[in-house]
């Protein structure tokens, strides 16, 4: 209902400028926009809601044949159990560390490569780019075993290196950023060259600000990668000194038959989701900033 109020204020503002007929169309369009977005938002948000209510159910209620949409008895105890059962604090800090370091390094590598592909001319450029794209098409599961042998030979097992280095290059991100860089008019680069601006300075001053939204998308994806990675950390680390959060979330709450105590697990998932959620709210402002800046440039 707040929407209606906002719409009426907009309505009043525009009154003098536009005719009544146009205003009506505008309101209808706005209404449809909001209706559509709200329905989609409900669909999108449902699993998140599910995660939270599951975290507050008892195991018995969770296993009911007809799932309840709201917990009958709210079990705050699940959260206490989640905190005491596993070494989640340490694992969380590991994840943050791996996430931040790998994001920074990955951004540097991605920006440099995307710049080379978008702006520089060299022999075999197209072939190399096609080759890179081709590597995306092989299912990653096949790489795991060979890479495991490689990192073992390097003596990297049980270290942060092994969690960060093998995944620094993502062809997806290079491709995404190259597409973005290609959009920026080449004249800007040529002009900068005439002015004697170095490549790196040009990158820093022009290209990066202009593609900030995508760089932030990459940052988010990279952080989420650290947040969701499970198989590789389990494979290459053997202690909680280096394991990541999903290892703890999945493994700490299982009983002998391999069944997880799902409500407690969900409680733990919810707790560790909160910082991530805050990080996004914080980053979203930067997306906006990137937008306004690119508006000024053009």
């Amino acid at each position: 209902m707040a929407d209606k109020k906002i719409m009426t204020t907009m309505h009043e503002k525009d009154m003098q400028k536009v005719t009544a007929a146009q205003t009506v169309t505008k309101i209808i369009v706005q209404f449809l926009l909001y209706a559509f977005l709200c329905i989609m938002a409900l669909i999108i948000v449902f699993p998140f809601y599910w995660m939270i209510i599951s975290s507050l159910k008892s195991t018995v209620e969770y296993r009911l044949p007809i799932p309840t949409l709201f917990p009958q008895d709210i079990m705050w105890g699940n959260y206490i159990e989640a905190f005491t059962a596993a070494n989640l604090g340490k694992l969380f800090m590991n994840t943050v560390y791996v996430g931040i370091v790998s994001t920074i390094l990955s951004l540097v590598i991605t920006v440099l490569s995307a710049f080379a592909f978008a702006r520089l001319e060299f022999k075999g450029k197209n072939a190399l780019f096609a080759g890179l794209l081709a590597t995306m098409m092989i299912p990653g599961e096949l790489f795991t075993i060979t890479n495991y042998v490689t990192v073992t030979k390097f003596g990297w097992l049980d270290s942060f290196t092994v969690l960060i280095v093998p995944f620094l290059v993502s062809v997806f991100y290079i491709y995404l950023l190259r597409q973005n860089f290609l959009q920026i008019p080449n004249e800007l680069y040529l002009a900068a060259k005439v002015d004697g601006t170095s490549d790196l300075k040009y990158l820093w001053k022009v290209m990066i600000p202009l593609s900030l939204p995508n760089l932030i998308s990459i940052t988010i994806l990279k952080m989420m990668g650290a947040w969701n990675s499970y198989v590789w950390p389990r494979l290459v680390t053997s202690t909680d000194d280096y394991r990541l959060i999903t290892n703890g979330l999945r493994d700490a709450f299982t009983d002998m038959s391999g069944q997880a105590n799902i409500p407690v697990q969900m409680a733990a998932v919810t707790v560790v989701s909160i910082p991530l959620f805050l990080v996004f709210i914080f980053l979203r402002k930067y997306i906006m900033k990137g937008v306004s800046r690119s508006g000024i440039k053009g």
Binding site: D3, I6, Q30, L33, F36, C38, M40, A41, I43, I44, F46, P47, F48, M51, S54, I66, P67, I109, T110, S113, A116, E121, L132, L133, A134, T135, M136, M137, P139, E141, L142, F143, I145, T150, V169, I174, L176, L182, S211, P213, N214, I216, S217, I220, M224, T246, L249, R250, I262, Q265, M266, V269, S273, L276, F277, F280, R284, V291, S294, G298
Partner: protein, 313 residues
């Protein structure tokens, strides 16, 4: 030799220096595994355990490929893979585009809704699989008083009969429908993020010009938004196709490890097959991966060719 070096332009050196870290890492962690995959694919009856145990023969050839192609479920895997890709990529791309454009067009609540559309990222995958099952599930199907999941309840509001989506005896197309919804749902946040990012870096002058001319909205969308966004759209479509061909985790998420509804047809996909074979038939898994690679390669080339013609830089 000297002459040759002189010939290479300064810019080329520069390009290779910029690319050096990426190329070096790719050589070690991507190209080498691919080479190893080729080795396993052409080594007859290859399995790592056999190699370690010293019971592996020394025959090289196409036997692994033959085993894959002659497998009775292979055509099913191929069909399911193709079908899911062809269904999900257009649906998810168009839906994401519409949502991104709508989000970009509103002022109040924009921040709030953006945050909502981001939530799937912080929702753990364990929760997502569970919720989808619960939404489509029918508990006690075939018994006297079944209880329907949310989706069937919503259908009931519109007077439709409940549909057996995923339970015992459910049909192939119902299964595919659920998978399509799941995959589209899963792909949406990423695509919205990319397209919204693209939209927000689009130069506002174009829109201002359109406003002055009072161009109709639909025309603005097709003549300005879509062309300006075309690089981003090309990106999500091409990567969407590649991702679609590699689909399998969604099926495991809903239908379990054996990838079939109870009493239903096999829903296995190419990557599902590869994953199974990785258990102890790495040679076959590698051969199947190369077959899949060949398919994706051809499709991507077609995609790139089309997008090059249509993309507006």
């Amino acid at each position: 030799m000297k002459k040759f070096l002189q010939k290479i332009k300064f810019e080329e050196w520069k390009a290779w220096i910029y690319l050096a870290p990426a190329v070096a890492l790719l050589l070690v962690f991507t190209v080498w595994p691919i080479i190893n995959t080729l080795r396993m694919a052409f080594w007859e009856d290859y399995s790592i355990m056999k190699e370690l145990g010293g019971t592996l023969g020394n025959e090289f050839g196409l036997k692994n490929f033959e085993k894959v192609i002659k497998y009775r479920g292979f055509i099913d895997c191929l069909k399911n893979t193709m079908l899911l890709t062809v269904l999900t990529v257009p649906i998810s791309t168009i839906l994401a585009l519409v949502i991104a454009v709508c989000l970009n067009a509103i002022k109040p609540l924009q921040r709030f809704l953006q945050t909502i559309f981001f939530l799937p990222y912080v929702t753990n995958s364990i929760a997502i699989g569970m919720v989808f099952e619960a939404m489509f599930n029918i508990v006690g199907f075939g018994t006297s008083n079944p209880s329907y999941g949310i989706i069937n309840n919503i259908l009931g509001v519109f007077g439709a009969d409940p549909i057996n989506w995923i339970n015992a005896g459910s049909g192939y197309w119902q299964n595919i429908a659920v998978l399509t919804i799941y995959i589209v749902w899963n792909a949406l946040p990423f695509k919205i993020l990319i397209l919204l990012g693209g939209l927000q870096s689009v130069n506002k002058q174009y829109y201002d010009a359109a406003k002055i001319d009072s161009t109709p909205r639909l025309r603005v969308f097709t003549k300005i938004t879509v062309p300006l966004l075309s690089p981003m759209i090309a990106y999500v479509v091409i990567t969407g196709f590649i991702g679609g061909f590699k689909e399998y985790s969604s099926i495991v998420g809903i239908f379990g490890d054996d990838m079939q509804a109870v009493g239903g047809e096999s829903l296995n996909t190419m990557v599902g097959y590869i994953y199974d074979a990785l258990g102890n038939q790495e040679g076959r898994a590698s051969a199947a991966a190369l077959i899949l690679f060949a398919i994706i390669f051809v499709v991507t080339m077609i995609n790139m060719y089309v997008s090059k013609k249509k993309t507006h830089y």
